[in-house]
Assembly symmetry: C2
Homo-oligomer: 557 residues x 2
């Protein structure tokens, strides 16, 4: 992207003073040193520390990494859950002007090793529980100069083939914690995250200090965070830097709750921690929040969540879930939209003052299902197929969402053949199709590649999935377009029923007929035990399309 | 300031995409076009418009200024109250990469003309009611190429000696409003404001687009603003850009209320507008808020101000006023600290989560009188006399407040002899003496030059003023140190009593004895009708010291 910048008169301000993430943690430690950080221990218990103590460890970690030979620009990987040590490295590595490599432990060893090789990571810090993951990729990553095991046990008790092996706590103990932080050029990379698209190899996104800093400020005001808030990090810290929530929470000196390793069976302890620690902000996906709501119902907890905001990404939150949280606990589910390439916030769904007064409750609930309003600082354009025009924001014109701004990627790291993912004027093409209504709210209608083209018309797979999931008998659903000799493509619905419920294909079509034209209804409904998902929990439509690719062969109707 | 920046690895983000103020108003217009802007008309009535319509006028104004010959870097002055047209020019001038010159109409003609000459302003836009001010300076400002009168009347009805004279509404009417905004190098000046210190000539501070943008984001999260808020701009828009509140309010797409010309007799209409428009954020000084509280009491209005935050600067807000607002209306007075050189926010007084629980009500009220916690992004240092060390933050060590950050000035415009106002590492020396307590809260104790040095010890003039003002009979007070042959300096208290109240010098000393040592008590108490003030409403201590300079001559006690 080449921008033609006009120069005015020089200012007298400290414009040379860079936006560094170190500023955020240092401010929290200096001004809110006593603020708590609560974290889950490997045995499932909870422990407490504060910003001042954690900052001391962060300075020790940075000093230790520097002595180990980490130089500005070097990449240091992390294999860990949402732990206190992971949080420490969020500041220690970038504070040296080195690059924190986020390692998605849900990737297969081939892809994960590719990420390590492509980014040329020099060191990798790995939680003791994840040593097997590290050992699986180590032979594929000969460039790694050292592994740092993170554990409460002494080094002598660790059995691993990783070498050379360093011990995180020993490294910290040997450092005085008196590091003098460098002032870093703000366009330097703070961290790297690789996309987990279902097509092609992972693509590297390198976030700058500037992007993270600005994104934190923008998120704080979008969420309305103050230092009265308590933030729990549920989204993995190893992907999309947990949506930038750790940095925002630190900037606002929030009390922070780190739930460690989060498994399906942890819904109970997590919910109880939200109550006990008075959490007011957290993030996750419907796949996490839905079981949480069901746990609250089953346990009879009756919590007062009137200050709690659940930031929800990945997929559209089911309306019943949003209403359930609000009506039964007072919690607000806030839908937000973004991607690895966008740091990630592009839109967030908050009600406008005016709409809150002019719309009735049902209209507001319907509005709440949309992806929301663009963040200040992000230019959102609805592109047509052919060029880069902005289609009308009228709730009817469907286009590809293209975005540009200080925290939006403009290229992929070391991948020159990806130019088609960007417009000539520097917008990232999201691959999502959507509409923007007259009030400015974005609604996704589909992935560009998941749009079903049937008989020259389009069917939105997402709209159909949402309609199917609104049926009380349905637990999960996915809709894909598969080739058809006559109609080009036809929708196939894959449906998982709730235990103890029954539904027929005809019954489902009757349900759908309320919101879809007859020609749009799926002839083929597959009742299944599960829906194939990607490593980030989205329906794996590539695989589903392949599974059902031949289902219409020979059909003439 | 030369900073040694370390470069890491390049990011893939849109780091070249600049922070321009145009982004803020364009976002508000596009995404919140229907949001209201309410403004006071010259006849004292109120009118309504919205962001979309105002943005159209802003684009017309920018197009018109460009055709008039305003180029990037040119300075364009504004002489106006807090009006809608003033708000339009806040975006139109900087949007062209030109510099908006803030003209403090409380300055005398000599100083104001100096500001125009020193900044080399090319054009000046002047409200019809302020034509006499412009006419007084015009002969002293031969470099001005044109004057733009802002009025609802036709040009033919305007009688003025200003020439060449343009008509704002005619200029706008002739423009299609289709300007293509330039992308501006973010270190370019957005506006200029000159200090109004009581010593020397006004000093020029030039704010960058970057500084204004970052300050707006930081203020939004510090105040907890969302687009549910309604902001009224009471602080003059011609000085310190109204504390950056117009830009913050626009960034957050607040409903905005512009009260126009604000005079002492307007307390009633202003208070009623706050109630009617459901204002939730405003800014001003105790000199504005105190009469407002008294009006509320006298009128029996009983408003519900539980969402209202009154940002209060200039001087420490009297405790009785803060309690009065909170206990009688629910409004929170928020003390903030800054200066022309700091855009202005340096600190803001918000309660920490922990202190709200650990302190009792009296302790919290006492805490609320402090200047507050440093803003994220501003480095605050407590310097000792000799060098640039940071004194301990223990609530006891008094030092000069020095600040550094992206929205803090690092030099004065075209004034090379002002290097002594900055430290070698780029901190601005505020001239304020203060302490920072163990919780991180700053408390000013004095202006460095207003500290009273008596018998080798220091007496804080501010502490003594606040103690005097806490007496129920006292309306206003100022304390200055004046030369004394034996003690070097001794305090003199100038006191204005409330109507119908009585107090003697002995009575005042008895009151002060509760919080001051005997040797600190003022021998001289002057009861007066008023306290001399500067153009920004601060006690004019330079003048007071001169008035009483000889009072101790011949004293030996």
């Amino acid at each position: 992207m080449t921008l033609n910048l006009v120069k005015g008169r020089p200012s007298t301000m400290g414009d040379a003073y860079p936006l560094n993430t170190t500023t955020l943690i240092r401010h929290a430690a200096r001004t809110h040193g006593e603020q708590e950080i609560v974290y889950r221990t490997p045995d499932g218990g909870w422990a407490r520390t504060d910003y001042a103590s954690t900052y001391r460890r962060i300075r020790q970690a940075a000093g230790a990494l520097r002595r180990l030979g980490v130089n500005p620009g070097d990449r240091v990987g992390i294999l860990d859950w949402n732990s206190l040590r992971h949080f420490e490295l969020y500041w220690a590595i970038p504070g040296l002007a080195a690059v924190m490599l986020q390692m998605n432990l849900r990737l297969g060893p081939e892809d994960l090793a590719y990420v390590v090789r492509h980014s040329e990571a020099a060191f990798i810090a790995v939680d003791e529980t994840l040593l097997p993951v590290a050992e699986a990729i180590a032979p594929l990553c000969p460039g790694v100069k050292g592994w740092i095991v993170m554990t409460g046990k002494p080094l002598s008790e660790i059995r691993t083939s990783l070498a050379p092996l360093h011990h995180y706590e020993d490294l910290l103990a040997a450092d005085a914690g008196d590091i003098d932080w460098p002032l870093i050029d703000e366009t330097s990379a703070y961290s790297a995250c690789y996309t987990t698209g279902t097509t092609g190899r992972p693509k590297g996104v390198y976030y700058s200090h500037r992007a993270i800093y600005l994104h934190s400020m923008a998120m704080a005001s979008a969420v309305g965070a103050t230092f009265d808030d308590c933030t729990m990090l549920i989204t993995p810290m190893f992907h999309g830097q947990c949506w930038g929530l750790p940095q925002m929470a630190t900037m606002m000196a929030n009390k922070i709750v780190l739930p460690g390793r989060y498994m399906a069976e942890d819904t109970g302890p997590l919910t109880e921690a939200i109550i006990r620690e008075e959490v007011t902000i957290t993030n996750g996906a419907p796949a996490i929040f839905q079981p949480m709501l069901e746990h609250i119902r089953a346990s009879g907890l009756k919590p007062d969540f009137s200050r709690l905001r659940l930031m929800s990404g990945a997929t559209e939150p089911p309306l019943a879930m949003m209403r359930g949280f609000y009506e039964e606990t007072g919690a607000e589910v806030i839908h937000a939209y973004g991607a690895t390439e966008t740091t990630p916030l592009v839109t967030i769904n908050r009600f406008k003052r005016g709409l809150r007064r002019s719309m009735d409750a049902e209209q507001l609930w319907d509005l709440k299902r949309k992806q929301g309003l663009p963040m200040v600082g992000v230019d959102v354009r609805l592109s047509d197929d052919e060029d880069v025009n902005d289609l009308p924001h009228d709730g009817a014109h469907v286009g590809e969402i293209c975005v540009r701004g200080p925290w939006i990627t403009t290229r992929y790291h070391d991948m020159p053949d990806s130019a088609d993912r960007f417009t000539p004027d520097g917008y990232w093409r999201s691959g999502d199709a959507g509409v923007i209504d007259g009030n400015g709210y974005l609604k996704l209608t589909d992935r560009i590649k998941d749009v079903i083209k049937s008989g020259g018309e389009w069917i939105s797979s997402i709209d159909m999935e949402n309609a199917i999931m609104a049926h009380p008998a349905v637990l999960e659903a996915a809709v894909v377009g598969v080739p058809h000799p006559k109609w080009q493509e036809r929708p196939v619905a894959i449906v998982v029923l709730r235990a103890g419920h029954e539904l027929t294909a005809d019954g489902l079509r009757a349900h759908l007929a309320a919101s879809f034209a007859k020609w749009q209804l799926p002839e083929t409904v597959v009742f299944s035990d599960s829906v194939a998902r990607t490593s980030v929990g989205k329906a794996d439509k590539k695989r589903l399309r392949a599974d059902y690719a031949h289902i219409h062969e020979g059909s003439e109707q």
